[in-house]
Symmetry: C2
Subunit: 212 residues, 2 copies
């Protein structure tokens, strides 16, 4: 693992985001990024495995570390999903709240590039795994831990998406609480209890269709 | 759009899954797949954009179509999340239930290859979008629709993961109902209501960390 160098990493990321915004992700080279940051390619590859990672590197690792640590530190009386949202809130305060502009610019770059979107989805899956493992250390059984982790990541996505909207003035922490409440609401809303009962509307499986 | 040819597509997919299982995804060429299926490369590329798509092609599109159609057809009295799970159940009956072995083999191939995992995550994101759009046609507001769609995809993942386990004998339809119940349970479980309240444990945002 490379040593954590906030200045080097931060300069490389800032330069990369500028260049990606100016001329597109595809057309920007690592050489251009290091040149603008005033650093060598060697330094770049000490910190990032490839060009995509400059948007996902130490920051996403740090987020996972913070969330996992906070979940593990939560009192046992806290429900698993509450512990997860608490962890996400601490990460929000520590990592996101003060740098909304950078997060928005990063978002725009990722949205414009399918390759970056795939990498982001993979990072989200990694966050899910880390959350599930942290819940495991609190004694949550593996199946429940994975389900809660997935629900927590849905809360994170929902809150983050709202937070980066220009009209939104609330803190990310508050939007995380809101998204959790929304999830509770849509999960609890069951006007027609029997409708999804197992076996209802069962159909004979058909053949001749592609396996999925 | 290529014409739907169940035989051709099915033979190519069966051949591909055999070869991927025998010699790995990376080392299998499109030429080998078409040779084993007794078809031409031209036929292959009529149906699939690339080698990865043979595991994700018309099947995932069909799943999206079925789920969207069922959601749109659900009575208005049904809660959005129930409508989504009903749609997923119809797709389960139609597409998955009769071909568990193929689904398990496909799963093993994807789990062994990060490139395939990224593609799968992208397909899951596409399913989320389709579900959200279908809920929109029922009058669900866009924010709620997206949240419900994400929750529905979590239910699908959870049920599917259990269904492919060899010891699991229940139908996927039933496991979808179970997973929905589990989500309701973990969302409702709030032993310490105030714990995630907005503003609690708020920390001053720190600086010097990487934008994420």
């Amino acid at each position: 693992m490379p040593r954590w160098e906030p200045d080097g990493v931060g300069r490389l990321q800032a330069a990369a985001i500028e260049l990606f915004a100016e001329q597109g992700f595809e057309r920007t080279t690592v050489a251009e990024i290091t040149q603008r940051a005033g650093l060598t390619e060697r330094t770049f590859f000490n910190h990032f495995a490839d060009k995509r990672e400059v948007l996902f590197g130490p920051g996403t690792e740090l987020q996972r570390e913070i969330v996992a640590r906070e979940i593990a530190a939560c009192p046992d009386t806290l429900a698993p999903l509450d512990a997860v949202v608490r962890g996400l809130q601490v990460a929000a305060d520590t990592m996101f709240e003060a740098r909304r502009d950078a997060v928005v610019r990063r978002r725009e770059i990722i949205d414009a590039n399918p390759e970056l979107q795939e990498r982001e989805l993979a990072k989200r899956a990694a966050l899910t795994d880390v959350i599930a493992a942290a819940l495991g250390t609190r004694g949550t059984d593996p199946d429940t831990a994975l389900l809660v982790a997935r629900a927590g990541v849905v809360v994170q996505q929902t809150a983050m998406q709202r937070w980066i909207q220009s009209a939104e003035k609330r803190h990310l922490r508050e939007l995380l609480s809101d998204a959790l409440l929304s999830l509770r609401t849509i999960a609890a809303h069951t006007p027609d209890q029997g409708a999804v009962a197992s076996g209802s509307r069962a159909r004979k499986p058909q053949t001749g269709l592609a396996p999925l």
